[in-house]
């Protein structure tokens, strides 16, 4: 199939991997703020600049990676219908936005909110590029009579990302930001649904990859898959209320969030029910890297969903809300679930022939298991710190905030050093994938161009 969109889909993935490397470095640097609170605090790279830089880098790793995954999946099945021009403009807009955002951060020019802490202007190229993505998707999707479930999930992720991204900026209107409680409610409504949107893009990718690896074409059309998809969509739309239990918002918002969050027990029960099946297929495909990452993501779904359900019960939420347990959950999901699916996709979609995984098997194995072990320690240390803080905020001791924080220093030490281990192990995986990308797409292309030039010169001289 000849279509110039394929190199662009790979460039999205490569750019995402670069953002991952940047996010890991910035995360480890920012985490040192917990050990040495006065570190560079009055400089341009103090904690208040490092934190948003880390969050944005990791967010871009997930969003750009998800974009690369959806494009790669579409290319594999319906490649000739995609517009390479639209995708190129989309990529260019992303690059402009990223450079603009980091320039703002480095000049301490903030003005945004959690997740999008930059001055609102660079949000414009991101929104336009997303619109182009939707147009490109529709170009393909409208020609397909019966959609597999992953196409529904991708469509949902695309539409709801744009909706929540715009909703995130309602504070620009005075009516919204002048009503404190409503403003906070909308902020966390948008943030909750935004995470649900990129989860739809990534879980859709995981189902696509499973289909590709196992050759099972039926699952993506089964009633059970669609039932799970709609349950996920229902949660994306209505479960965000669990973020604002403590906020004095209308009671129905909290009750809807509580009730809908409890439907996640169904997902949880399903994971346990299909566990045996997952283990047997893992044994079958263990040698295969993408599959191994997908299995790891499934284990992290189990751990994080269990935690999420407990945290969604308001009486427990009171102990975890505003503590590092919330951070542990965010890290567990973004690294354990989102990043594992993205790495599986990168191993599948990026050409791994030029810098073969076989040759690096030892390092990849160490990095894979190192990542899982480091993440477990990282997750545990944050939970331990969070539980201590939770007990403090519920009044178990009468100490000040700074005394309580000093008491958590051992957990923070563990958190920072397991973070360093994560940076190394995930970094190795990202570097191997990027070397592959460079070897296959840049060096090889250059060799082909050189060869062509040489041949044409030879012809001229002949």
């Amino acid at each position: 199939m000849t279509n110039t969109i394929q190199p662009i889909t790979k460039t999205f993935l490569a750019l995402a991997l670069l953002m991952l490397l940047l996010g890991l470095g910035l995360g480890v640097t920012a985490a040192h703020g917990y050990l040495y609170p006065d570190l560079w605090k009055n400089s341009a790279v103090g904690f208040s600049a490092l934190r948003p830089m880390h969050v944005s880098s990791v967010l871009f790793w997930i969003i750009l990676g998800a974009t690369g995954c959806v494009y790669s999946g579409l290319w594999h099945k319906y490649g000739h219908l995609l517009s390479a021009r639209l995708a190129t403009v989309q990529l260019a807009l992303w690059i402009i936005a990223i450079v603009w955002i980091f320039y703002n951060y480095l000049n301490n020019n903030f003005g945004g909110r959690e997740y999008w802490e930059f001055n609102p202007w660079p949000a414009l190229p991101i929104a336009i590029s997303w619109l182009l993505f939707i147009i490109n998707f529709i170009k393909v999707a409208k020609t397909i009579p019966q959609w597999p479930v992953y196409l529904w999930m991708w469509m949902t992720g695309l539409v709801f990302f744009l909706f929540t991204f715009i909703e995130n900026y309602l504070w620009l209107f005075p009516y919204f930001r002048e009503h404190f409680v409503t403003d906070m409610t909308i902020q966390w409504k948008a943030n909750g649904s935004l995470v649900g949107s990129w989860n739809q893009l990534l879980y859709g990718t995981a189902i696509f990859l499973m289909e590709k690896i196992s050759g099972d074409k039926k699952t993506a059309y089964s009633k059970l898959s669609f039932a799970m998809y709609f349950l996920g969509l229902f949660n994306l739309m209505f479960n965000w209320g669990h973020h604002v239990y403590t906020l004095p918002t209308d009671a129905y918002v909290r009750y809807v969030g509580y009730a809908v969050s409890m439907t996640e027990w169904i997902f949880f029960a399903r994971i346990i029910y299909t566990w045996k099946q997952s283990v047997s297929s893992m044994q079958k495909h263990y040698h295969y890297f993408p599959y191994r990452f997908l299995m790891a993501s499934e284990l992290w779904v189990f751990i994080n969903m269990g935690q999420a359900i407990i945290m969604s019960i308001p009486a427990f939420n009171l102990y975890t809300h505003g503590t590092h347990v919330t951070v542990a959950h965010a890290m567990g999901t973004t690294i354990g679930i989102n990043s594992m699916i993205l790495l599986a996709a990168c191993f599948e979609f990026l050409d791994t022939r030029c810098y073969p995984a076989e040759g690096n098997k030892k390092w990849l194995n160490i990095s894979f298991w190192g990542t899982q072990a480091a993440l477990l320690i990282f997750w545990f240390s944050l939970n331990a710190a969070g539980i201590e803080k939770g007990l403090w905020q519920m009044g178990s001791t009468n100490t000040s905030f700074s005394t309580m924080m000093s008491g958590l220093s051992n957990w923070f030490l563990l958190f920072v050093y397991s973070g360093v281990a994560l940076m190394i192990t995930l970094g190795i995986l990202a570097v191997v994938l990027l070397r592959n990308y460079v070897a296959c797409n840049i060096k090889q292309r250059k060799q082909v161009t050189d060869k062509k030039e040489k041949t044409s010169t030879e012809i001229k001289f002949a």
Binding site: S48, T156, T249, M394
Partner: protein, 139 residues
């Protein structure tokens, strides 16, 4: 009639839009919040964002983790505007120095006062109901 995924999707989307609309219009139904709305507080929210206060601080437990929650800062004993002004000018162990103009400081204080007036952000004072839900208790 056979139910197509499209039908379920459309029904859910309509419900979602109706729910979103009810959230957006909450201040129009809730007279207390409507009365609390204030322009300086809204402008103060922009100062909070400009200096990225949420990177370290929380409001109702939402935000960063390096500094304390500031929901009820303004009504805390000894934490008046003079104290906040001094803290911003000189910083402390982990808090950097912030060079706010007088106008920005006034707006930020108005925002913190408005946040404080909305309720009690101390988790220890919440009441747990029989069904597991929590409820704010006013001091």
């Amino acid at each position: 009639m056979k139910i197509h995924p499209r039908h379920i999707f459309v029904v859910l989307c309509v419900l979602f839009l109706a729910y979103s609309f009810s959230i957006y219009t909450a201040p129009l139904r809730n007279t207390t919040e409507l009365q609390q709305a204030a322009s300086p507080a809204g402008e103060g929210r922009l100062v909070w964002q400009k200096y990225n206060c949420q990177s370290c601080h929380q409001l109702y437990g939402l935000g960063g983790y390096l500094g304390p929650d500031l929901t009820n800062l303004m009504s805390s004993p000894g934490k008046d505007s003079t104290y906040i002004h001094a803290l911003l000018k000189s910083g402390n162990k982990q808090m950097p120095v912030f060079d706010l103009t007088d106008e920005e400081l006034t707006r930020l204080l108005a925002f913190l006062r408005a946040a404080d007036a909305t309720g009690n952000g101390r988790p220890a004072s919440y009441k747990t109901l029989w069904n597991g839900m929590i409820e704010q208790q006013h001091d």
